[in-house]
């Protein structure tokens, strides 16, 4: 049974830029300032805070506490989100539970990161002994492996991934917050000619680290109305799973956590795939978007290429896809990345999509991906359905 007692009552997003020289705190300050300006609420109303772990502050175990000082917030509920690109939707979901448990009344979910200015992260664990020596340091090699397996099992038309990249790039042209260097049209020819960085993965299948921040207000509908908030959306379903198939050494790596939570989340929201009004999926790589089409049931497994090629994914099309350009074409603000897809969903549902406004934005499906583990797909998968 879905609940409609809690809302996202405001959002803020900074411009996304490369090597700003700014800190995650400074970017968060800009996001908070914008959030208070847009909603008109007083900072003293904020008694909960969720902070997303930042690559630029990952060596600081007290980043979230320092963030409360930076922002002048005194929360009775403080969450430190360590699930990477799932931390924004996951932060909203955890804030909802905290509010229902009476731990706070109004929470801000803040994601801010500046890895292109200051990378201070060490993933540690087993990587230095078992993953780095064969040259699998970064996500591209892991996604090259994943793509190779997908192609082996199902086949893949490169033009389908190209269409995802091109469609999102066309959307980014309408997004004033997007990274400026990406604000030029992309053609299929350019996509197909783009450099292969880890076979068969192309550079235009991939995100680029930038700096940026986003923030959301989560509170009860009742409190939102008391505060005079005019625009709000209802997170009616959330699902999350970490380390899916993690203990099966022979798991099919083309099955991700979304295979498990995707259909569940839609069922909880009472939606069939065809009812989804817009899809704002986490897009670190184009193949991840295509695998999500399949996992959520927009098409059958292995039919991602055909589905992508036959479906109008533009903002005014059949299934509007990452209507702000997504991370691939607006820039990936480090681990604040998941909030980029979420901010675009809320913006569209508030009717603030401008020249890329989705008609009848009555609901949205938003996802997150966190962490790239050893030889599989991704560590955490999260999905949230928002309703008007």
């Amino acid at each position: 049974m879905k609940k409609r007692d809690i809302v996202i009552g405001g959002y803020a997003e900074t411009a996304i830029d490369f090597k700003t020289g700014r800190s995650a705190y400074d970017l968060a300050g800009e996001a908070l300032d914008q959030l208070l300006e847009r909603t008109g609420i007083d900072r003293s109303e904020i008694d909960g805070l969720s902070v997303t772990t930042a690559l630029s502050e990952a060596q600081n175990p007290f980043f979230a506490v320092y963030m409360t000082e930076a922002l002048g917030i005194t929360p009775t509920w403080l969450n430190y989100g360590g699930i990477g690109g799932c931390s924004a939707t996951g932060g909203v979901a955890r804030a909802m539970s905290a509010i229902r448990d009476g731990m706070c009344k109004l929470a801000v979910v803040m994601s801010s990161d500046a890895p292109s200015s200051d990378w201070r992260s060490n993933y540690g664990a087993y990587r230095s002994e078992f993953q780095d020596p064969p040259g699998v340091q970064g996500p591209p090699a892991t996604f090259g492996l994943l793509m190779s397996r997908y192609i082996h099992q199902y086949g893949l038309d490169p033009e389908a991934l190209g269409k995802i990249a091109i469609t999102q790039r066309a959307h980014a042209l309408h997004n004033p917050n997007g990274y400026k260097k990406f604000q030029k049209e992309l053609t299929m020819e350019e996509y197909l000619k783009s450099r292969v960085i880890s076979d068969p993965l192309r550079v235009l299948d991939s995100v680029m680290f930038c700096d940026g921040a986003n923030a959301f207000i989560v509170t009860t509908e009742e409190n939102a109305r008391r505060l005079g908030l005019k625009k709000m959306v209802y997170p009616v379903a959330y699902g999350e799973v970490t380390n899916f198939n993690g203990s099966d050494p022979l798991a099919d790596i083309t099955q991700s956590g979304f295979t498990r939570i995707g259909p569940e989340v839609l069922r909880k929201a009472g939606l069939a795939p065809k009812d989804v009004r817009m899809f704002q999926p986490y897009d670190d790589f184009t193949i991840a978007v295509m695998m999500q089409f399949e996992a959520f049931g927009f098409c059958e497994r292995g039919e991602g290429s055909a589905y992508t090629l036959r479906t109008d994914l533009s903002f005014n099309g059949e299934l509007p896809l990452n209507t702000g350009g997504g991370q691939i074409s607006a820039g990936q603000p480090g681990l604040a990345s998941g909030g980029l897809n979420l901010a675009e969903a809320v913006r569209q549902m508030f009717g603030e999509g401008g020249s890329r406004q989705v008609p009848d934005p009555r609901n949205a499906l938003v996802t997150g991906i966190g962490v790239i583990p050893y030889g599989r797909n991704w560590g955490t998968s999260s999905a949230m359905v928002l309703e008007a």
């Binding site: 064969p134 040259g135 068969p200």
Partner: protein
């Protein structure tokens, strides 16, 4: 994927990881120094796991020992790293594979002396010894 000449410098200078930082991995390192691939084995599930973990992924208990595997398997997934990065200097294009060993466990490793165009899923491979430094061996594979 048409390159024909992977570079394998005679004496590559590569980072040597500090051993045992995650869990005790001495048997793995001792094994490869003798040309053997030694991996963690769950004595209850009777299955291997890799990378080594603090508990068995099958039981959650420390029902673990180390056993040598035959070093033969099939390429499950593969890629050719073409961008520079720490530790891959002088090795690009670099053939990387997820190898499914015949014992039923996967390991990520380089495929040595393999042209990128010859690297493919389904091909049989066998253990080969890579040298991180002249003194430090590391497991890799070559086409069988």
């Amino acid at each position: 994927m048409s390159d024909t000449t992977p570079t394998t410098p005679a004496a590559p200078v590569r980072p040597v990881p500090r051993q045992g930082v995650y869990v005790d991995s001495k048997p793995f390192w001792d094994g490869i120094a003798q040309g053997k691939l030694v991996l963690q084995y769950c004595t209850v599930a009777k299955r291997f796991q890799h990378y080594p973990k603090p508990v068995s992924g099958f039981t959650g208990r420390r029902t673990l020992e180390w056993r040598e595997v035959a070093g033969t398997g099939t390429i499950y997934a593969c890629t050719v790293v073409r961008i520079p990065g720490p530790g891959v200097e002088g090795r690009i294009p670099l053939c990387v594979a997820t190898v499914e060993l015949d014992e039923g466990v996967r390991i990520i490793a380089n495929v040595l002396r393999c042209a990128p165009s010859d690297l493919a899923i389904g091909k049989r491979v066998r253990l080969a010894i890579d040298q991180l430094t002249p003194e430090q061996a590391y497991p890799a594979f070559e086409l069988a």
